[in-house]
Point group: C2
Chain length 133, copies 2
């Protein structure tokens, strides 16, 4: 087991993610980190995102089609992706948690320990733009 050492890059990446409600990709995090650390490398961003995910401090969302996205919310929740603008939003619901537990209990071919649910559709912003036609 490697002993964890402090790194200012990792702290900034975590802090950046906590301050956002969208769900940035690694490359987007990288572009923003360059404003603080002009020489930071994309590899460092990936390594830290991966490390933070392993520690359970952030969540890796694989995936909504393209690059993976990252989410600093630790409370269990689901995600909604707008198929028009690509935005990813949080979805909180007791319905899903209850029914997913029912499914886990019903499943006979293995032992379910985790689940992820994603929803697709059109977000309100895109719907209102559509109305103007």
């Amino acid at each position: 087991m490697a002993t964890l050492k402090y790194s200012r890059q990792r702290e900034s990446i975590k802090e950046f993610l906590v301050g956002r409600t969208d769900h940035p990709t690694a490359d987007f995090v990288y572009e923003n980190m360059k404003q603080i650390y002009p020489n930071i490398s994309l590899g460092t961003v990936y390594r830290n995102l991966s490390l933070l995910a392993d520690l359970g401090e952030i969540q890796k969302l694989s995936s909504f089609g393209g690059a993976d996205r990252f989410d600093a919310r630790t409370t269990p929740h689901c995600h909604f992706m707008c198929t028009r603008c690509g935005r990813v939003m949080d979805v909180f619901s007791e319905h899903i948690d209850r029914s997913l537990e029912d499914i886990a209990a019903d499943f006979k071919d293995g032992q379910i320990s985790d689940y992820k649910a994603r929803f697709f559709g059109i977000c309100n912003d895109c719907l209102s733009k559509e109305d103007t036609h």
Copy 2:
């Protein structure tokens, strides 16, 4: 709109997927197609898988970590992935469909039209191997 033309490659790819209950990657389909068409290209496999998915004849599963997987089942269902051996299995349940309507009704930031749920855990095969220790 392009008019669809018959292609024996596409037909074989579809047929191959229909005959399987696992959820092969594009590369796995490619390797198997080479036994029928030794000169088939990976690009052709990707193009046909993408086309079949657009037609709704197959489903593209993005993703379970690595490469996308493909599924010829058209009836709505969810997926379970064994985190030990990587196998992906189908999950059928009425629970999920019932709760989807509830969630869609609750969600205020957009209009939900589709969902995908994935479950993670250990499959029975891997559990029984574990017992022998």
